[in-house]
């Protein structure tokens, strides 16, 4: 940083014009279908996931209406069973993960000072597949053919002879289809975070949110195959009479549970981890200081994501396996509490040292701490086999995981919505509406789910469509149902707040919160190229750091402006040393086409039109071949020895 070398003056007008020319996409229908811009794709993920959230939430409201009174007849058992299955499946697979992937898509490139994801077209493809898979699954509901076996779909109830009809075919195929999106998205996050960080952002300067997303992505890469195996074997059992889960043919029903939970427990953290990352991202702006103990939080993220793979049998503590086997998993399930504890106390310490700015995002973070801690207690209780055997599959466990998931994912998501809305839309939300929404959501959440602990302990099993009035469960259920309406009202206010901000909100400016990470040094909403000058990062809080700020103004250099073509900078994996400027791909229809062909494939499998499915496979291969077909270049350019 010597001042003697000739410092180029910031970025010139002509460079800005060239950047706009290379990166801007026209506002046309064609551009809408072909976009590869991570910000547009991120926004679509957010909106689509929110739509599925509304559907899954309405399912829950109908169920709570049914359960408000004993022996009520709002729903038939068949309807109830489909609704609770769709509620769980959609909340987990179609809301939580994609919503957080939406934040990741929008934010990761901005936070690491890049101009896009590593594979922008793959990113677009991932979104289309998510959309199609979500519609594929929900479309079964009006036909009365929705999955009806609970979100973990235990064998052998998922088998053809016990569960005829398309229900579980929709489940197996829908999740396999969706898995393509989740996997491709995860790989994209990993590669983006490894290779596209701004120069100077070594691993010890990576924002905690990015750590969380990358850890999540690694969990997806190693956990999802277990679910895919399970569903593929299920589909074969149902359609082609194999015997994997059929004890009559030598199969084993517990194989389903092992494979499911090898996926399923990491999946809990796949949902919660980005939420924890959001908390770590929100806190600095509202405490006016960095989060305490950065390496410890990184440790917590890494440790949780690894240990989460070794706790799966605690979901099977009542299946009668040897107690010694249980104890290995009990040990891991107990110890996984410690990294979570470290994070909680690091956040508390941050709040106790900083200066609190009590705005809506911070309110949701506080709501998160209260709720998640309570969910954590019951979670640690489940690690103990003896206690687990008493409360598993009761409403106590329903209470537990709603505390963990609403606390660990929904509250951070809502905090994130208010926090980044100015960045995403360029407009501020209405603070009063935000506070009302918080109090309604917080109150509604606890009124709904706290009583479930009690009637769970009082003996009410989960997944019952009704109950008798002489069992002492009436009052608790009625309170829960009332709470669910309060919660829904609060969430409606969130929606109104977002619409209000987009329509009427005052312009936000690039950095309304005086935040610390790089997205706050981009415009609101960001330009198509994110950063006119890719910054050179000098600290963990680059936007609070003058040297980093200088690197984009008076210290701007040609190799970080990169206005010749649609380019961004690749850097080295651990220490982010600049490697090369890379050309980024142009918009394309191919991601949409490929996702569409896959939709045809899965629909054909569902309906048993196997020749169509085979044709679709060929179309998939052809689309991919065309997608990746190398452009023809002169021999000298590509380097052919004559």
């Amino acid at each position: 940083m010597s001042t003697t070398t000739s410092t180029p003056p910031g970025i010139g007008r002509d460079d800005l014009a060239r950047l706009a020319e290379h990166w801007d996409e026209p506002r046309s229908l064609r551009a809408w279908f072909t976009t590869v811009d991570h910000k547009k794709i991120g926004r679509r993920y957010l909106v689509t996931a929110a739509f599925f959230f509304v559907l899954a939430g309405l399912s829950a409201l109908v169920m709570r209406t049914q359960l408000a009174r004993p022996e009520s007849g709002v729903l038939s058992p068949q309807e109830y069973n489909q609704l609770f299955t769709m509620h769980g499946t959609a909340m987990i697979f179609l809301f939580a993960t994609p919503m957080l992937f939406g934040f990741g898509n929008f934010l990761v490139p901005l936070m690491i000072g890049s101009r896009d994801m590593a594979f922008p077209r793959l990113n677009a493809f991932g979104y289309w597949v998510f959309l199609f898979a979500g519609l594929f699954m929900w479309a079964s509901l009006p036909f009365g053919a929705a999955p009806n076996n609970g979100w973990f779909a235990y064998a052998p109830l998922n088998q053809d002879q016990h569960n005829p009809g398309l229900h579980m075919d929709v489940y197996a195929l829908g999740l396999l289809f969706l898995g393509i999106s989740t996997t491709s998205g995860a790989i994209n996050f990993i590669v983006t975070a490894l290779k596209l960080r701004a120069p100077g952002m070594s691993l010890n300067r990576v924002p905690l949110f990015v750590w969380a997303i990358v850890a999540t992505a690694f969990m997806v890469v190693f956990a999802l195959p277990a679910l895919n195996t399970d569903n593929a074997l299920l589909f074969l059992d149902r359609r082609f009479d194999t015997h994997f889960f059929d004890p009559g043919g030598g199969g084993n029903v517990l194989l389903w549970q092992h494979l499911f939970w090898i996926f399923g427990h990491p999946d809990v953290y796949i949902i919660v981890m980005p939420g924890l990352g959001i908390v770590s991202a929100v806190l600095p702006a509202f405490t006016r200081r960095g989060v305490v103990g950065y390496p410890l939080i990184v440790l917590a993220i890494v440790a949780i994501s690894i240990v989460s793979f070794g706790v799966w049998v605690h979901h099977m503590f009542a299946t009668g396996l040897p107690q010694l086997s249980y104890s290995f998993f009990s040990a891991a399930s107990t110890i996984i509490t410690i990294p979570s504890g470290i994070q909680i106390f690091a956040w508390l310490a941050t709040m106790m040292l900083g200066r609190l700015v009590l705005r809506t995002p911070l309110l949701f973070v506080i709501g998160f701490i209260v709720t998640f801690v309570l969910g954590g207690f019951t979670g640690a209780m489940f690690a103990l086999t003896a206690f687990d055997q008493q409360v598993t599959d009761s409403y106590f466990v329903v209470a537990h995981f709603h505390y963990v998931l609403l606390g660990g994912a929904l509250f951070p998501i809502l905090a994130g919505i208010y926090f980044w809305l100015p960045k995403i839309t360029g407009r501020m939300y209405h603070e009063g509406l935000g506070r009302w929404a918080f109090w309604l959501v917080f109150t509604g959440m606890h009124v709904t789910f706290f009583p479930m602990h009690l009637y769970g302990l009082f003996g009410m099993p989960r997944r019952v469509y009704t109950y008798r009035s002489d069992l002492g469960w009436d009052v608790g259920n009625l309170i829960s149902s009332i709470g669910s309406y309060v919660l829904a009202l609060g969430l409606l206010l969130v929606l109104i707040g977002v619409v209000h901000a987009i329509r009427r909100g005052r312009p936000a400016g690039p950095d309304p919160w005086a935040g610390d990470s790089l997205e706050w040094s981009a415009a609101s909403p960001p330009e198509a190229y994110n950063f006119p000058v890719i910054p050179r990062v000098h600290s963990l809080h680059p936007t609070w750091d003058e040297r980093t700020a200088e690197s984009t103004t008076t210290g701007a250099t040609k190799d970080r402006i990169l206005s010749e073509g649609k380019r961004t900078l690749f850097t080295s994996e651990l220490d982010a040393r600049p490697e090369r400027a890379a050309q980024m791909p142009e918009p394309s229809f191919k991601p949409l086409v490929l996702a569409g062909v896959l939709l045809v494939f899965f629909t054909a499998l569902l309906l048993g039109a196997y020749p169509v499915a085979v044709a679709a496979v060929l179309a998939v291969a052809a689309t991919i071949a065309a997608w990746l077909w190398p452009p023809r270049r002169p021999d000298e350019e590509i380097g052919i020895a004559s």
């Binding site: 064998a155 052998p156 016990h162």
Partner: protein, 342 residues
């Protein structure tokens, strides 16, 4: 920084936002007191559930203490770190590691030890030659058999008070889970396998149990009753299991028996000592004395029984019994006969 956080004993003005929590906690204690009618795990009546109840209260009070700690720190920050507070830039790593890792570590390792002890206690079942009940799960009812006895009953498990009874669990179809909250935690019924658990009731009485593993359309109506009796009553019950069902006494009952044996009923149900030997549905030899119809779906009285026979699908939609074309004139006799079977 640690000092400021930990020695602050000034009573903080209670924050509005934490108000909902305390009433909820008091609701917990209140409801725990008046849950007498529930099959509550917090009202244990057997050795297994009592073990877990002890563990629960240990975990509960630990949770209350840690929650109070977290809330106190949060409240402190909210009271003293707003407005004009000056930002401090330390890295209180020791505070985080002691409060977030050290203390939890000690608590968790201790609790893990207690958990192992309790698990071992749950595993210590009755001896080899203990009385054995065989429970077979069906969609959606429980078949109950006793080793060495020919008869069977349904949705009702009789055990002698104060004895540890071995329960052998099998399923005829999908997974179910055997759960009597007041007596014993769950054990799943695994297709293709046999599992074992045990029951022990301290006092005579009826303890409600229910299937806890989702098992299809009527998972909600798959309850059963554990009836703990003095040994003499229990022996009498066992003896009745080997004897033929009570013979019809009145003309109406005799006509009812005829309808049962010659009609469609006998295709699925059996009554000991008659021609009815169907094995699809529950054995009805003592149906008149049972606590409910349809595994807890409705009370066992004449009106509900008639409704059940005519069309059980309105009572328990999806169950395996089709509507019965029983002549309206014959139905009262059939009801009278079945009610007489005690």
């Amino acid at each position: 920084m640690e000092t400021t956080a930990q020695t602050s004993s000034r009573p903080a003005r209670r924050q509005r936002r934490f108000r909902p929590v305390l009433p909820l906690l008091s609701v917990l204690l209140l409801l725990a007191g008046c849950s007498g009618e529930s099959p509550s795990a917090l009202n244990p009546q057997g050795a297994g559930a009592a073990r877990v109840n002890g563990l629960w209260w240990l975990l509960f009070w630990i949770s209350v203490a840690v929650f109070a700690e977290v809330m106190a720190l949060l409240a402190w920050a909210l009271v003293f770190r707003r407005g004009g507070a000056r930002v401090r830039h330390g890295q209180p790593v020791r505070f985080v590691t002691v409060a977030g890792a050290g203390l939890p570590f000690i608590i968790l390792v201790a609790v893990y030890g207690v958990g192992l002890r309790d698990l071992a206690a749950l595993g210590a079942g009755p001896g080899r030659d203990a009385l054995t009940v065989e429970v077979i799960g069906h969609q959606w009812w429980w078949e109950v058999r006793y080793a060495g006895r020919s008869g069977a009953t349904a949705n009702e498990i009789h055990i002698p008070v104060g004895e540890r009874v071995k329960v052998r669990l099998r399923t005829n179809d999908v997974l179910h889970s055997f759960w009597v909250p007041q007596l014993m935690p769950k054990t799943d019924l695994i297709s293709g396998e046999t599992r074992e658990t045990w029951l022990e009731a301290r006092q005579a009485g009826s303890y409600r149990g229910q299937c806890a593993e989702y098992c299809g359309t009527q998972h909600a109506h798959m309850a059963f009753l554990v009836v703990a009796q003095p040994r003499a009553d229990f022996d009498a019950f066992l003896d009745r299991l080997d004897a033929p069902a009570r013979a019809p006494q009145t003309d109406a009952e005799r006509r009812g028996q005829q309808t049962f044996v010659q009609g469609t009923c006998a295709a699925c149900h059996s009554i000991r000592g008659t021609g009815a030997q169907g094995r699809v549905g529950p054995d009805l030899s003592n149906v008149g004395s049972r606590w409910s119809i349809g595994a807890g779906a409705v009370p066992n009285d004449a009106g509900h029984l008639g409704g059940w026979i005519a069309n059980s699908q309105t009572v328990k939609p999806g169950n395996a019994m089709p509507p019965q074309p029983v002549d309206a004139a014959r139905l009262p006799d059939l009801i009278a006969y079945l009610r007489s079977l005690e």
